[in-house]
Symmetry: C2
Subunit: 441 residues, 2 copies
Amino acid sequence: MPEKTLHLTAFMRPVSLHTGAWRYPGAYPDANFNLTHLKSFIKKLEDAKFDAFFMADHLAVLNMPVEALKRSHTVTSFEPFTLLSALSVVTEKIGLAATASTTYDEPYHIARRFASLDHLSSGRAAWNIVTTGNPESAKNFGLDAHVEHADRYKRAREFYDVVTGLWDSFADDAFIRDQETGIYFDPEKLHVLDHKGDDLKVRGPLNIARPVQGWPVIVQAGQSEPGKQLAAETAEAVFCSPRDLESAKALYADIKGRAVAAGRDRNHLKILPAAFIVVGDSVEEARAKRLKLDSLVHYDSAIASLSIALGTDASGFDPDGPLPTDIPETNASKTGRAGVLKLAEDEKLTVRQLAQRYGGYSGLAFVGTPESIAEEMSVWLDEEGADGFTVVFPFLPQGLDDVVQRLVPELQRRGIFRQDYEGTTLREHLGLPRPNNRFFS
Amino acid sequence: MPEKTLHLTAFMRPVSLHTGAWRYPGAYPDANFNLTHLKSFIKKLEDAKFDAFFMADHLAVLNMPVEALKRSHTVTSFEPFTLLSALSVVTEKIGLAATASTTYDEPYHIARRFASLDHLSSGRAAWNIVTTGNPESAKNFGLDAHVEHADRYKRAREFYDVVTGLWDSFADDAFIRDQETGIYFDPEKLHVLDHKGDDLKVRGPLNIARPVQGWPVIVQAGQSEPGKQLAAETAEAVFCSPRDLESAKALYADIKGRAVAAGRDRNHLKILPAAFIVVGDSVEEARAKRLKLDSLVHYDSAIASLSIALGTDASGFDPDGPLPTDIPETNASKTGRAGVLKLAEDEKLTVRQLAQRYGGYSGLAFVGTPESIAEEMSVWLDEEGADGFTVVFPFLPQGLDDVVQRLVPELQRRGIFRQDYEGTTLREHLGLPRPNNRFFS
């Protein structure tokens, strides 16, 4: 094996981020919300030795115009802890990453649920810490307006301290269960946190044994300044969305540098950009699949996305013509606009196709053959753009099958992805140390 | 079958309420916190056609002197939603009742988790509404003192309205998922709750389809005045703890009467007292098992329980002698005191045995042969003391095996318990109607 190998997690809520995914020929239209399908997906991902199954989360029905909303396959979904607990029973090794909000939940609940999931799964839980950026959520939790960004991140940092402190309530060897003497646990090995901070006051102890992994793996996705800083200080895996290798390398260096500055080992934080993967027999076939998928995005909602990306109203353009050359320049979105113009030129897309790309999924994509995609991933790994990827599937089941049956074997052949799990916990899959208990060493 | 039959639910958090349970010969000392054991228990309960597996909950390590705490098998437990979701995968019919607090949680979270569990389990979820009476919990949620009783019940009532309203966010037939037209759901069948009340402000809609059961079954356990009123207005099953048939009949008539006064059908609310069951080949053998179990309760914590029951300090009494006859009468606990005196006389118990009874489990108990217990249960059913029971096991696995292998067949032989499930949802097991959607009829 080469020195460096990839980590792969699967972005599974929704099971595809592409808004047209559920309409693709052969796709399960209810893939997000059908336990039988979800069980089969996670078993395939485990057979392919993926590090983890990753669930994003939203605490609201996302606010969008009704014309787009009624076409969205994300409007009904399982809640992460209930789904991952159910899926833990049908799997043995794959990690289970749940998103939980530090803004609209309580640290005692969060610490307890992740500890419970970690015990149920024998050490496979991960907590994706989010501060919940969607303003609609506030209205479901008694507030009129969203909590301010800086306040959310300040609370998140303290919340992390409280949750990890609660996980350390019991020493790893606190439970004796001596039937003869009647001693169930050693009270010297129970710590009362008694946290009193700016935003949180939590006494403890937690009413559950220390998690199998010590602490579930910490995941973070923020790309704002406070987000990157929180990730550098606390995260062990970072979910991010760079658009290309150059910006990925800059982000990678930035976050790893901050982690080192915070006194951490740079290898104990894995950078895992989201990558939309479409596999074909040829690059042309893969591209054709993608165009077919994009074509399933409704034009009315698609054109709105293109207008945003261009910084100008595109609804008057000829859908079946090329992008007009006389689009007025605006300051609002220079980078986005440049990206659209480059894409239009590179792939020779009509206005409709461009709109459907932006309305479907416009993030980082690897579209090609197993060989070409494996080569790209290898370059990202070598050049420190990524320690692995958070795979976004185009449609299911076929798009997932293509990855696990065709791309993964190619990655294994090149020696940059595991042939089998070496350990049993998610920390072991990711090469992360088990944290010491801060109260009992 | 006779006109009336019993409903049986299993009290499973902790798996035994008896403090000495984990020390009984042959008992699993970690029964509460071992997924393999819990899977086997729920499968046995389902084979015996129990209505539901019931999980109480605590949002704290219970406050008790360290001498008692270190002997408690309840100090580490799985969180209810994660455990029940895992257990839903290994079962098909048995109901899954989780306790969730209206005082220390948010209605959007609660509505969502129960809806998710109901979908994962194909219609088997129940919500045991509690207001969380344990003052230690407040300290884990940022408060110094517990929320006042009346305020807790006022919020609980409003909380119920919000949660059920959120469950009704989508019409049952809202999801079309038409791949051809691209319409995922009919927006006319989505309702925004927009609740603004005294204690809660929640916009909605919920981001999950209406539960399979319409609403998960509502369970309530309060026996205070506001508790009984809340149960009468909202509950479909009541978990209660009458000490004998006479008090059970009074409670049964009281709650059913309140339900009728609130405009409900008295058959749509099932009264299920907790019953501790010890089965033997003879009544004497069953009693001997119970004495053996009681003897495993540590005397120091046991004597404190007896002192509370007597309303006087019992620590100076001779542990191996009979209860002194000259105990000063107090006003503090006349009923409790009379119960102790009667028990001492009926079963000729020493001070130590009495103490261990009160320190172990002193609620309603059926201790005898399968025939004698079935007969007692039949009387309770006929005389309207109960619509069934919430079974408390003395120790596990044997005490559970005795119930499912010996008592249940006797109940079935008498025709007062089902031979098989007739439906698939918990509502169907309990004979409860599926609620209409208040916004879409």
